[in-house]
Protein backbone atom coordinates (compact mmCIF):
# COMPACT_ATOMS: atom_id res chain seq x y z
CA UNK A 1 0.00 0.00 0.00
CA UNK A 2 1.42 3.35 -0.95
CA UNK A 3 0.92 6.32 1.31
CA UNK A 4 -0.74 9.43 0.04
CA UNK A 5 2.12 11.84 -0.59
CA UNK A 6 0.81 14.54 1.75
CA UNK A 7 0.59 11.99 4.53
CA UNK A 8 4.20 11.05 3.87
CA UNK A 9 5.24 14.65 4.37
CA UNK A 10 3.13 15.10 7.51
CA UNK A 11 4.53 12.06 9.25
CA UNK A 12 7.97 13.67 9.15
CA UNK A 13 6.62 16.34 11.50
CA UNK A 14 5.13 13.96 14.05
CA UNK A 15 7.20 13.10 17.10
CA UNK A 16 7.20 9.44 18.10
CA UNK A 17 4.82 8.58 20.91
CA UNK A 18 2.79 11.75 20.61
CA UNK A 19 -0.95 12.15 21.09
CA UNK A 20 -2.79 13.12 17.93
CA UNK A 21 -6.23 14.16 16.83
CA UNK A 22 -7.05 13.98 13.13
CA UNK A 23 -10.04 16.13 12.16
CA UNK A 24 -11.84 14.59 9.21
CA UNK A 25 -9.64 11.50 9.37
CA UNK A 26 -11.20 9.80 6.34
CA UNK A 27 -10.42 6.10 6.14
CA UNK A 28 -7.83 6.34 8.92
CA UNK A 29 -4.83 5.71 6.65
CA UNK A 30 -2.66 8.40 8.25
CA UNK A 31 -3.49 7.41 11.82
CA UNK A 32 -2.84 3.73 11.08
CA UNK A 33 0.50 4.60 9.53
CA UNK A 34 1.48 6.89 12.38
CA UNK A 35 0.55 4.43 15.08
CA UNK A 36 2.50 1.69 13.33
CA UNK A 37 5.58 3.79 12.53
CA UNK A 38 5.57 6.59 15.07
CA UNK A 39 3.87 4.77 17.97
CA UNK A 40 1.41 7.62 18.37
CA UNK A 41 -1.88 7.44 20.25
CA UNK A 42 -4.24 8.79 17.66
CA UNK A 43 -7.91 9.53 17.36
CA UNK A 44 -9.83 10.53 14.28
CA UNK A 45 -13.03 12.49 13.94
CA UNK A 46 -15.21 11.59 10.98
CA UNK A 47 -18.88 11.74 10.00
CA UNK A 48 -19.02 9.59 6.87
CA UNK A 49 -20.30 6.11 7.85
CA UNK A 50 -18.28 4.34 5.12
CA UNK A 51 -15.07 6.03 6.18
CA UNK A 52 -15.80 5.39 9.85
CA UNK A 53 -16.15 1.73 9.01
CA UNK A 54 -12.85 1.75 7.17
CA UNK A 55 -11.23 3.21 10.31
CA UNK A 56 -12.75 0.50 12.48
CA UNK A 57 -11.51 -2.20 10.11
CA UNK A 58 -8.02 -0.72 10.40
CA UNK A 59 -8.20 -0.72 14.19
CA UNK A 60 -8.01 3.08 14.25
CA UNK A 61 -9.76 4.95 17.09
CA UNK A 62 -12.52 6.89 15.39
CA UNK A 63 -15.10 9.19 16.92
CA UNK A 64 -18.26 10.08 15.05
CA UNK A 65 -18.35 13.82 15.52
CA UNK A 66 -19.16 16.75 13.27
CA UNK A 67 -16.44 19.43 13.22
CA UNK A 68 -19.05 22.10 12.62
CA UNK A 69 -20.64 21.25 15.98
CA UNK A 70 -17.43 22.36 17.69
CA UNK A 71 -14.65 20.69 19.64
CA UNK A 72 -15.63 21.89 23.09
CA UNK A 73 -15.62 18.32 24.41
CA UNK A 74 -11.82 18.28 24.23
CA UNK A 75 -9.80 19.89 26.99
CA UNK A 76 -7.06 22.51 26.52
CA UNK A 77 -3.70 21.10 25.39
CA UNK A 78 -4.99 17.53 25.22
CA UNK A 79 -2.96 16.74 22.12
CA UNK A 80 0.58 17.18 20.86
CA UNK A 81 -0.70 17.79 17.34
CA UNK A 82 -4.09 18.33 15.78
CA UNK A 83 -4.24 17.49 12.09
CA UNK A 84 -6.69 18.49 9.42
CA UNK A 85 -6.03 17.45 5.85
CA UNK A 86 -8.11 18.91 3.04
CA UNK A 87 -10.99 19.95 5.27
CA UNK A 88 -10.36 23.59 6.24
CA UNK A 89 -12.21 24.79 3.15
CA UNK A 90 -15.20 22.55 3.95
CA UNK A 91 -16.03 23.65 7.52
CA UNK A 92 -18.53 26.38 8.40
CA UNK A 93 -16.12 28.51 10.44
CA UNK A 94 -12.52 27.84 9.39
CA UNK A 95 -11.13 30.53 11.70
CA UNK A 96 -12.89 29.09 14.74
CA UNK A 97 -11.76 25.57 13.89
CA UNK A 98 -8.20 26.84 13.61
CA UNK A 99 -8.46 28.56 17.00
CA UNK A 100 -9.91 25.39 18.53
CA UNK A 101 -7.15 23.25 17.02
CA UNK A 102 -4.60 25.42 18.79
CA UNK A 103 -6.54 25.38 22.05
CA UNK A 104 -6.72 21.59 22.27
CA UNK A 105 -3.33 20.91 20.68
CA UNK A 106 0.15 22.36 21.04
CA UNK A 107 0.41 22.63 17.28
CA UNK A 108 -1.78 22.21 14.25
CA UNK A 109 -0.97 20.70 10.89
CA UNK A 110 -3.25 21.66 8.01
CA UNK A 111 -3.41 21.06 4.32
CA UNK A 112 -5.74 22.85 1.93
CA UNK A 113 -5.95 23.71 -1.77
CA UNK A 114 -4.80 27.10 -3.03
CA UNK A 115 -7.56 28.98 -4.82
CA UNK A 116 -5.01 31.41 -6.24
CA UNK A 117 -3.21 28.74 -8.20
CA UNK A 118 -2.64 29.86 -11.77
CA UNK A 119 -5.02 27.28 -13.19
CA UNK A 120 -7.87 28.57 -11.00
CA UNK A 121 -7.00 32.12 -11.94
CA UNK A 122 -6.93 31.24 -15.62
CA UNK A 123 -10.24 29.39 -15.45
CA UNK A 124 -11.97 32.23 -13.64
CA UNK A 125 -10.18 34.88 -15.74
CA UNK A 126 -10.97 33.43 -19.16
CA UNK A 127 -14.29 31.66 -18.58
CA UNK A 128 -15.66 33.92 -15.87
CA UNK A 129 -16.97 30.87 -14.03
CA UNK A 130 -16.10 29.06 -10.82
CA UNK A 131 -13.23 26.68 -11.52
CA UNK A 132 -14.14 23.04 -12.00
CA UNK A 133 -11.35 20.56 -12.49
CA UNK A 134 -10.49 16.95 -11.90
CA UNK A 135 -9.01 18.11 -8.61
CA UNK A 136 -12.00 20.28 -7.67
CA UNK A 137 -14.81 18.40 -9.39
CA UNK A 138 -17.82 20.17 -7.85
CA UNK A 139 -19.99 22.96 -9.17
CA UNK A 140 -20.53 26.01 -6.99
CA UNK A 141 -23.95 24.95 -5.67
CA UNK A 142 -23.10 21.42 -4.58
CA UNK A 143 -19.52 21.75 -3.46
CA UNK A 144 -18.63 20.80 0.10
CA UNK A 145 -15.78 23.30 -0.24
CA UNK A 146 -17.58 26.39 0.97
CA UNK A 147 -14.60 28.40 2.18
CA UNK A 148 -11.89 28.32 -0.44
CA UNK A 149 -8.95 30.56 0.31
CA UNK A 150 -5.49 31.30 -0.97
CA UNK A 151 -2.16 30.85 0.76
CA UNK A 152 -1.97 34.61 1.21
CA UNK A 153 -5.42 34.66 2.80
CA UNK A 154 -4.49 31.94 5.24
CA UNK A 155 -1.25 33.57 6.21
CA UNK A 156 -3.04 36.87 6.73
CA UNK A 157 -5.48 35.11 9.08
CA UNK A 158 -2.56 33.63 11.01
CA UNK A 159 -0.96 37.08 11.30
CA UNK A 160 -4.19 38.67 12.56
CA UNK A 161 -4.67 35.94 15.18
CA UNK A 162 -1.01 35.87 16.25
CA UNK A 163 -0.58 32.32 15.02
CA UNK A 164 3.02 31.40 14.19
CA UNK A 165 3.76 29.44 11.03
CA UNK A 166 6.44 26.89 11.88
CA UNK A 167 6.62 25.15 8.51
CA UNK A 168 5.08 25.56 5.12
CA UNK A 169 5.45 23.21 2.24
CA UNK A 170 3.86 24.09 -1.07
CA UNK A 171 3.29 21.25 -3.47
CA UNK A 172 1.45 20.32 -6.64
CA UNK A 173 -1.43 17.87 -6.97
CA UNK A 174 0.89 14.91 -6.68
CA UNK A 175 2.48 16.51 -3.63
CA UNK A 176 5.77 17.23 -5.33
CA UNK A 177 7.59 20.34 -4.33
CA UNK A 178 9.30 22.14 -7.22
CA UNK A 179 11.68 25.10 -7.19
CA UNK A 180 9.12 27.07 -9.17
CA UNK A 181 6.32 26.59 -6.63
CA UNK A 182 8.82 27.64 -4.01
CA UNK A 183 9.47 30.84 -5.93
CA UNK A 184 5.84 31.88 -6.50
CA UNK A 185 3.86 29.69 -4.10
CA UNK A 186 0.60 31.60 -4.27
CA UNK A 187 0.61 31.36 -8.07
CA UNK A 188 2.18 27.98 -8.68
CA UNK A 189 1.39 25.96 -5.55
CA UNK A 190 -1.74 23.84 -5.56
CA UNK A 191 -1.74 22.46 -2.03
CA UNK A 192 -0.05 23.81 1.05
CA UNK A 193 0.87 21.90 4.16
CA UNK A 194 1.23 24.19 7.15
CA UNK A 195 2.45 23.54 10.66
CA UNK A 196 1.33 26.31 12.99
CA UNK A 197 1.36 27.09 16.70
CA UNK A 198 0.59 29.88 19.14
Amino acid sequence: MTMRADLEIIQEWIKPGSRLLDLGCGDGELLRYLSDHRKVTGYGLEIDPEKINACIERGVNVIEQNLDAGLSNFGDNTFDSVLMTQALQAVHYPDQVLEEMLRIGREAILTFPNFAHWRCRLYLGTKGRMPVSEFMPYTWYNTPNIHFCTFKDFEELCRERSIRILDRLVVDQSHQSTWLSGLWPNLLGEIAIYRVTR
Binding site: Y43, I52, N53, E57, N61, I63, E64
Partner: protein, 379 residues
Amino acid sequence: MSRFPADSVGLVTPQRQAFSEPLQLACGKALNQFELVYETYGELNANHSNAVLICHALSGHHHAAGFHKVDERKPGWWDACIGPGKAIDTNRFFVVSLNNLGGCHGSTGPSSIDPATGKSYGAHFPVLTVEDWVHSQALLADRLGIACWAAVVGGSLGGMQALQWAISYPDRIRHCLAIATAPKLSAQNIAFNEVARQAIINDPDFHNGDYAAFGVIPKRGLMLARMVGHITYLSDDSMGEKFGRELRTDVLNYDFTSVEFQVESYLRYQGQEFSERFDANTYLLMTKALDYFDPAGAHSGNLASSLEGIKARCMVMSFTTDWRFSPARSRELVDALFAAGKQVSYLEIEAAQGHDAFLLPIPRYVQAFKAYMNQIEVA
Protein backbone atom coordinates in the same frame (compact mmCIF):
# COMPACT_ATOMS: atom_id res chain seq x y z
CA MET B 1 -30.12 -31.35 7.29
CA SER B 2 -30.57 -28.59 9.82
CA ARG B 3 -33.88 -26.81 10.18
CA PHE B 4 -32.11 -23.69 11.36
CA PRO B 5 -30.86 -20.80 9.22
CA ALA B 6 -27.23 -21.15 8.06
CA ASP B 7 -26.18 -18.17 10.19
CA SER B 8 -27.74 -19.54 13.36
CA VAL B 9 -25.75 -21.24 16.11
CA GLY B 10 -28.53 -23.83 15.96
CA LEU B 11 -29.62 -25.92 18.90
CA VAL B 12 -28.09 -24.89 22.21
CA THR B 13 -28.29 -26.37 25.70
CA PRO B 14 -27.92 -24.23 28.81
CA GLN B 15 -25.19 -25.27 31.22
CA ARG B 16 -24.76 -24.68 34.91
CA GLN B 17 -21.89 -24.04 37.31
CA ALA B 18 -22.25 -24.19 41.08
CA PHE B 19 -20.02 -22.06 43.30
CA SER B 20 -19.53 -22.74 46.97
CA GLU B 21 -16.98 -20.08 47.83
CA PRO B 22 -18.67 -17.05 49.47
CA LEU B 23 -19.18 -14.07 47.18
CA GLN B 24 -18.78 -10.84 49.11
CA LEU B 25 -21.32 -8.27 47.90
CA ALA B 26 -21.32 -4.48 47.82
CA CYS B 27 -24.27 -4.36 50.25
CA GLY B 28 -22.12 -5.98 52.95
CA LYS B 29 -23.78 -9.38 52.77
CA ALA B 30 -22.31 -12.47 51.15
CA LEU B 31 -23.78 -15.28 49.10
CA ASN B 32 -22.26 -18.48 50.44
CA GLN B 33 -23.27 -20.59 47.49
CA PHE B 34 -24.83 -19.86 44.17
CA GLU B 35 -25.31 -21.18 40.67
CA LEU B 36 -24.93 -19.52 37.32
CA VAL B 37 -26.69 -20.70 34.20
CA TYR B 38 -25.03 -19.94 30.88
CA GLU B 39 -24.80 -20.90 27.23
CA THR B 40 -21.78 -21.03 24.97
CA TYR B 41 -21.54 -20.70 21.21
CA GLY B 42 -18.49 -21.52 19.08
CA GLU B 43 -15.29 -23.22 20.18
CA LEU B 44 -12.69 -22.02 22.68
CA ASN B 45 -9.35 -21.96 20.85
CA ALA B 46 -6.12 -23.58 22.06
CA ASN B 47 -4.72 -20.57 23.93
CA HIS B 48 -8.14 -19.41 25.11
CA SER B 49 -7.76 -16.03 23.41
CA ASN B 50 -11.09 -15.95 21.57
CA ALA B 51 -13.60 -15.80 24.42
CA VAL B 52 -16.32 -13.15 24.34
CA LEU B 53 -18.63 -12.47 27.26
CA ILE B 54 -22.17 -11.27 26.58
CA CYS B 55 -23.78 -9.26 29.38
CA HIS B 56 -27.54 -8.99 29.37
CA ALA B 57 -29.83 -6.05 30.04
CA LEU B 58 -32.66 -5.55 32.53
CA SER B 59 -34.96 -8.36 31.44
CA GLY B 60 -32.41 -10.47 29.60
CA HIS B 61 -30.97 -13.88 30.30
CA HIS B 62 -28.45 -16.45 29.11
CA HIS B 63 -30.34 -17.46 25.97
CA ALA B 64 -28.77 -14.92 23.59
CA ALA B 65 -28.55 -16.96 20.39
CA GLY B 66 -29.81 -20.10 18.72
CA PHE B 67 -32.73 -22.27 19.74
CA HIS B 68 -33.48 -24.44 22.76
CA LYS B 69 -35.87 -26.63 20.86
CA VAL B 70 -36.25 -27.56 17.23
CA ASP B 71 -39.69 -25.97 17.15
CA GLU B 72 -38.86 -22.88 19.25
CA ARG B 73 -40.70 -19.89 17.81
CA LYS B 74 -38.04 -17.26 18.42
CA PRO B 75 -34.25 -17.56 18.74
CA GLY B 76 -32.22 -16.02 21.60
CA TRP B 77 -32.54 -12.29 22.31
CA TRP B 78 -29.36 -11.21 20.47
CA ASP B 79 -29.52 -13.71 17.63
CA ALA B 80 -29.35 -10.74 15.21
CA CYS B 81 -25.73 -10.23 16.27
CA ILE B 82 -24.42 -13.65 17.36
CA GLY B 83 -23.84 -16.55 14.98
CA PRO B 84 -21.66 -17.82 12.15
CA GLY B 85 -20.71 -14.82 10.00
CA LYS B 86 -22.68 -12.39 12.18
CA ALA B 87 -21.29 -9.38 14.06
CA ILE B 88 -20.03 -11.65 16.82
CA ASP B 89 -18.87 -14.42 14.52
CA THR B 90 -19.07 -17.79 16.26
CA ASN B 91 -16.68 -19.19 13.65
CA ARG B 92 -14.00 -17.01 15.27
CA PHE B 93 -15.18 -16.48 18.82
CA PHE B 94 -16.14 -18.62 21.76
CA VAL B 95 -19.15 -16.78 23.16
CA VAL B 96 -20.32 -17.08 26.76
CA SER B 97 -23.71 -15.72 27.73
CA LEU B 98 -24.98 -16.06 31.28
CA ASN B 99 -28.04 -15.29 33.33
CA ASN B 100 -26.92 -12.82 35.97
CA LEU B 101 -27.01 -13.54 39.64
CA GLY B 102 -30.38 -12.42 40.98
CA GLY B 103 -32.02 -13.36 37.70
CA CYS B 104 -35.07 -15.52 37.23
CA HIS B 105 -33.97 -17.78 34.40
CA GLY B 106 -31.98 -20.37 36.28
CA SER B 107 -29.15 -18.55 38.05
CA THR B 108 -29.51 -18.12 41.80
CA GLY B 109 -32.00 -15.34 42.48
CA PRO B 110 -34.88 -14.29 44.70
CA SER B 111 -37.05 -17.17 43.51
CA SER B 112 -34.36 -19.78 44.29
CA ILE B 113 -34.40 -21.82 47.48
CA ASP B 114 -32.29 -20.36 50.28
CA PRO B 115 -30.35 -23.34 51.69
CA ALA B 116 -30.42 -21.69 55.11
CA THR B 117 -34.22 -21.76 55.33
CA GLY B 118 -35.32 -24.29 52.77
CA LYS B 119 -37.70 -21.65 51.37
CA SER B 120 -37.28 -19.24 48.50
CA TYR B 121 -35.19 -16.14 49.21
CA GLY B 122 -37.99 -13.78 48.22
CA ALA B 123 -37.44 -10.38 49.78
CA HIS B 124 -34.35 -11.62 51.62
CA PHE B 125 -32.25 -11.96 48.52
CA PRO B 126 -29.47 -9.36 48.77
CA VAL B 127 -29.56 -6.28 46.56
CA LEU B 128 -26.86 -6.66 43.91
CA THR B 129 -24.75 -4.15 42.03
CA VAL B 130 -23.14 -4.19 38.60
CA GLU B 131 -19.81 -4.72 40.38
CA ASP B 132 -21.18 -7.80 42.15
CA TRP B 133 -22.26 -9.21 38.82
CA VAL B 134 -18.86 -8.62 37.28
CA HIS B 135 -17.17 -10.39 40.22
CA SER B 136 -19.49 -13.38 39.81
CA GLN B 137 -18.82 -13.39 36.06
CA ALA B 138 -15.07 -13.43 36.80
CA LEU B 139 -15.60 -16.59 38.87
CA LEU B 140 -17.41 -18.14 35.92
CA ALA B 141 -14.50 -17.12 33.66
CA ASP B 142 -12.07 -18.84 36.06
CA ARG B 143 -14.18 -21.96 35.92
CA LEU B 144 -14.19 -21.93 32.12
CA GLY B 145 -10.42 -21.38 31.96
CA ILE B 146 -10.71 -17.88 30.53
CA ALA B 147 -7.93 -15.71 31.94
CA CYS B 148 -8.68 -12.80 29.62
CA TRP B 149 -11.73 -12.06 27.49
CA ALA B 150 -11.08 -11.01 23.91
CA ALA B 151 -14.11 -8.79 24.45
CA VAL B 152 -16.90 -8.13 26.91
CA VAL B 153 -19.99 -6.92 25.10
CA GLY B 154 -23.28 -5.55 26.32
CA GLY B 155 -26.13 -3.19 25.57
CA SER B 156 -27.97 -0.98 28.07
CA LEU B 157 -27.45 -2.47 31.57
CA GLY B 158 -25.19 -4.98 29.79
CA GLY B 159 -23.02 -2.12 28.54
CA MET B 160 -22.56 -0.99 32.14
CA GLN B 161 -21.26 -4.47 33.00
CA ALA B 162 -18.85 -4.35 30.04
CA LEU B 163 -17.55 -0.99 31.28
CA GLN B 164 -17.31 -2.28 34.86
CA TRP B 165 -15.27 -5.24 33.59
CA ALA B 166 -12.77 -2.85 32.04
CA ILE B 167 -12.57 -0.95 35.34
CA SER B 168 -12.54 -3.90 37.78
CA TYR B 169 -10.42 -6.36 35.82
CA PRO B 170 -8.21 -4.31 33.48
CA ASP B 171 -5.96 -7.30 32.79
CA ARG B 172 -8.79 -9.66 31.99
CA ILE B 173 -10.46 -7.80 29.10
CA ARG B 174 -8.93 -6.67 25.81
CA HIS B 175 -11.94 -4.97 24.25
CA CYS B 176 -14.97 -3.38 25.86
CA LEU B 177 -18.08 -2.83 23.74
CA ALA B 178 -20.60 -0.63 25.53
CA ILE B 179 -23.74 -0.16 23.45
CA ALA B 180 -26.75 2.10 24.09
CA THR B 181 -25.61 2.68 27.63
CA ALA B 182 -24.65 5.40 30.09
CA PRO B 183 -21.95 5.91 32.73
CA LYS B 184 -24.75 6.44 35.28
CA LEU B 185 -28.49 6.94 35.33
CA SER B 186 -30.00 10.41 35.18
CA ALA B 187 -32.68 11.55 37.61
CA GLN B 188 -35.23 10.88 34.86
CA ASN B 189 -33.97 7.29 34.42
CA ILE B 190 -34.16 6.66 38.16
CA ALA B 191 -37.63 8.19 38.24
CA PHE B 192 -38.90 5.73 35.64
CA ASN B 193 -37.39 2.87 37.62
CA GLU B 194 -39.02 4.13 40.78
CA VAL B 195 -42.45 4.23 39.12
CA ALA B 196 -41.90 0.62 38.05
CA ARG B 197 -40.87 -0.42 41.54
CA GLN B 198 -43.81 1.33 43.16
CA ALA B 199 -46.17 -0.42 40.75
CA ILE B 200 -44.82 -3.79 41.92
CA ILE B 201 -44.49 -2.99 45.61
CA ASN B 202 -48.02 -1.60 45.80
CA ASP B 203 -49.59 -4.62 44.18
CA PRO B 204 -51.63 -6.32 46.97
CA ASP B 205 -50.17 -9.63 45.81
CA PHE B 206 -46.60 -8.48 46.47
CA HIS B 207 -46.65 -9.31 50.22
CA ASN B 208 -43.38 -7.45 50.85
CA GLY B 209 -41.63 -9.66 48.36
CA ASP B 210 -42.66 -12.96 49.95
CA TYR B 211 -45.49 -13.60 47.49
CA ALA B 212 -44.24 -17.14 46.85
CA ALA B 213 -45.20 -18.09 50.39
CA PHE B 214 -48.74 -16.97 49.58
CA GLY B 215 -48.82 -18.82 46.30
CA VAL B 216 -49.46 -15.67 44.28
CA ILE B 217 -47.50 -13.34 42.01
CA PRO B 218 -47.90 -9.55 41.76
CA LYS B 219 -48.89 -9.74 38.13
CA ARG B 220 -50.67 -6.41 37.92
CA GLY B 221 -47.70 -4.54 39.37
CA LEU B 222 -45.24 -6.31 37.13
CA MET B 223 -47.43 -5.65 34.10
CA LEU B 224 -47.61 -1.95 34.91
CA ALA B 225 -43.85 -1.81 35.52
CA ARG B 226 -43.20 -3.37 32.14
CA MET B 227 -45.64 -1.04 30.39
CA VAL B 228 -43.83 2.00 31.76
CA GLY B 229 -40.46 0.49 30.93
CA HIS B 230 -41.52 -0.48 27.44
CA ILE B 231 -42.49 3.09 26.59
CA THR B 232 -38.93 4.17 27.36
CA TYR B 233 -37.48 1.54 25.03
CA LEU B 234 -39.30 2.89 22.00
CA SER B 235 -38.99 6.26 20.34
CA ASP B 236 -41.85 8.68 19.81
CA ASP B 237 -41.29 8.19 16.07
CA SER B 238 -41.37 4.40 16.16
CA MET B 239 -44.51 4.40 18.31
CA GLY B 240 -46.09 6.92 15.98
CA GLU B 241 -45.23 4.82 12.98
CA LYS B 242 -46.32 1.56 14.57
CA PHE B 243 -49.58 2.71 16.16
CA GLY B 244 -50.24 6.37 15.57
CA ARG B 245 -53.70 7.09 16.93
CA GLU B 246 -55.10 4.02 15.25
CA LEU B 247 -58.21 2.61 16.90
CA ARG B 248 -59.23 -0.99 17.45
CA THR B 249 -62.88 -0.02 17.58
CA ASP B 250 -65.00 1.80 15.03
CA VAL B 251 -66.37 4.25 17.56
CA LEU B 252 -65.24 5.79 20.81
CA ASN B 253 -66.87 4.14 23.82
CA TYR B 254 -66.62 7.02 26.26
CA ASP B 255 -65.48 4.76 29.08
CA PHE B 256 -62.24 3.83 30.83
CA THR B 257 -62.28 0.10 30.44
CA SER B 258 -62.36 -0.49 26.69
CA VAL B 259 -59.08 -1.00 24.85
CA GLU B 260 -59.55 1.58 22.11
CA PHE B 261 -56.18 2.71 20.84
CA GLN B 262 -53.83 0.17 19.27
CA VAL B 263 -51.00 1.39 21.46
CA GLU B 264 -53.04 0.51 24.57
CA SER B 265 -53.61 -2.98 23.30
CA TYR B 266 -49.92 -3.41 22.46
CA LEU B 267 -48.71 -2.20 25.86
CA ARG B 268 -51.21 -4.37 27.71
CA TYR B 269 -50.12 -7.38 25.72
CA GLN B 270 -46.43 -6.70 26.36
CA GLY B 271 -47.06 -6.15 30.06
CA GLN B 272 -49.29 -9.20 30.39
CA GLU B 273 -46.85 -11.48 28.62
CA PHE B 274 -43.93 -10.17 30.70
CA SER B 275 -45.77 -10.58 34.00
CA GLU B 276 -46.18 -14.28 33.26
CA ARG B 277 -42.52 -14.97 32.64
CA PHE B 278 -40.56 -12.59 34.86
CA ASP B 279 -40.05 -12.50 38.61
CA ALA B 280 -41.08 -9.33 40.44
CA ASN B 281 -38.21 -9.44 42.95
CA THR B 282 -35.72 -9.86 40.12
CA TYR B 283 -37.23 -6.84 38.39
CA LEU B 284 -36.79 -4.75 41.54
CA LEU B 285 -33.22 -5.97 41.89
CA MET B 286 -32.28 -5.22 38.29
CA THR B 287 -33.66 -1.67 38.46
CA LYS B 288 -31.72 -1.03 41.68
CA ALA B 289 -28.50 -2.28 40.07
CA LEU B 290 -29.14 0.21 37.27
CA ASP B 291 -29.80 3.06 39.71
CA TYR B 292 -26.68 2.34 41.79
CA PHE B 293 -24.29 2.09 38.86
CA ASP B 294 -21.98 5.09 39.03
CA PRO B 295 -18.27 4.33 38.70
CA ALA B 296 -17.49 8.04 39.09
CA GLY B 297 -19.19 8.04 42.49
CA ALA B 298 -16.12 6.64 44.23
CA HIS B 299 -13.99 9.31 42.51
CA SER B 300 -15.81 12.44 43.68
CA GLY B 301 -17.92 12.37 40.56
CA ASN B 302 -14.91 12.44 38.26
CA LEU B 303 -15.69 9.86 35.59
CA ALA B 304 -12.34 10.20 33.82
CA SER B 305 -10.43 9.38 36.99
CA SER B 306 -12.61 6.29 37.58
CA LEU B 307 -11.52 5.07 34.13
CA GLU B 308 -7.76 5.63 34.69
CA GLY B 309 -6.98 1.96 35.18
CA ILE B 310 -8.65 0.75 32.00
CA LYS B 311 -6.38 -1.07 29.55
CA ALA B 312 -9.04 -2.37 27.17
CA ARG B 313 -9.80 -0.66 23.91
CA CYS B 314 -13.35 0.63 24.06
CA MET B 315 -16.07 0.82 21.45
CA VAL B 316 -19.11 2.89 22.34
CA MET B 317 -22.23 2.95 20.18
CA SER B 318 -25.43 4.94 20.59
CA PHE B 319 -28.63 5.40 18.59
CA THR B 320 -30.04 8.76 17.56
CA THR B 321 -33.61 8.26 18.83
CA ASP B 322 -32.67 6.46 22.06
CA TRP B 323 -33.96 8.74 24.78
CA ARG B 324 -33.57 6.28 27.63
CA PHE B 325 -29.79 6.29 27.18
CA SER B 326 -29.38 9.08 24.68
CA PRO B 327 -26.28 9.65 22.52
CA ALA B 328 -25.35 12.49 24.86
CA ARG B 329 -24.91 9.93 27.67
CA SER B 330 -22.61 7.84 25.51
CA ARG B 331 -20.61 10.94 24.57
CA GLU B 332 -20.16 11.63 28.28
CA LEU B 333 -18.48 8.27 28.56
CA VAL B 334 -16.45 8.76 25.38
CA ASP B 335 -15.22 12.18 26.49
CA ALA B 336 -14.18 10.75 29.86
CA LEU B 337 -12.34 7.85 28.20
CA PHE B 338 -10.68 10.43 26.01
CA ALA B 339 -9.71 12.62 28.94
CA ALA B 340 -8.27 9.56 30.67
CA GLY B 341 -6.16 8.90 27.56
CA LYS B 342 -7.87 5.61 26.71
CA GLN B 343 -8.29 4.01 23.31
CA VAL B 344 -11.87 4.62 22.26
CA SER B 345 -14.09 4.66 19.20
CA TYR B 346 -17.60 6.05 19.10
CA LEU B 347 -20.48 5.66 16.70
CA GLU B 348 -23.80 7.46 16.72
CA ILE B 349 -26.09 5.36 14.59
CA GLU B 350 -29.08 6.83 12.81
CA ALA B 351 -32.00 4.65 13.89
CA ALA B 352 -35.69 5.29 14.44
CA GLN B 353 -36.27 2.45 16.93
CA GLY B 354 -35.18 4.16 20.16
CA HIS B 355 -33.38 2.21 22.89
CA ASP B 356 -34.50 -1.12 21.41
CA ALA B 357 -32.33 -0.42 18.36
CA PHE B 358 -29.38 -2.22 19.93
CA LEU B 359 -31.24 -5.51 19.63
CA LEU B 360 -32.21 -5.04 15.98
CA PRO B 361 -30.40 -5.84 12.73
CA ILE B 362 -29.86 -2.23 11.66
CA PRO B 363 -27.46 -2.46 8.70
CA ARG B 364 -24.99 0.25 9.69
CA TYR B 365 -24.92 -0.91 13.30
CA VAL B 366 -24.35 -4.55 12.46
CA GLN B 367 -21.73 -3.64 9.85
CA ALA B 368 -19.72 -1.51 12.29
CA PHE B 369 -20.18 -4.01 15.11
CA LYS B 370 -18.89 -6.75 12.83
CA ALA B 371 -15.98 -4.64 11.58
CA TYR B 372 -14.92 -3.96 15.16
CA MET B 373 -15.20 -7.60 16.24
CA ASN B 374 -13.33 -8.77 13.13
CA GLN B 375 -10.26 -6.67 13.85
CA ILE B 376 -9.89 -8.21 17.32
CA GLU B 377 -6.94 -10.58 17.26
CA VAL B 378 -7.64 -14.14 18.32
CA ALA B 379 -4.24 -15.69 17.64
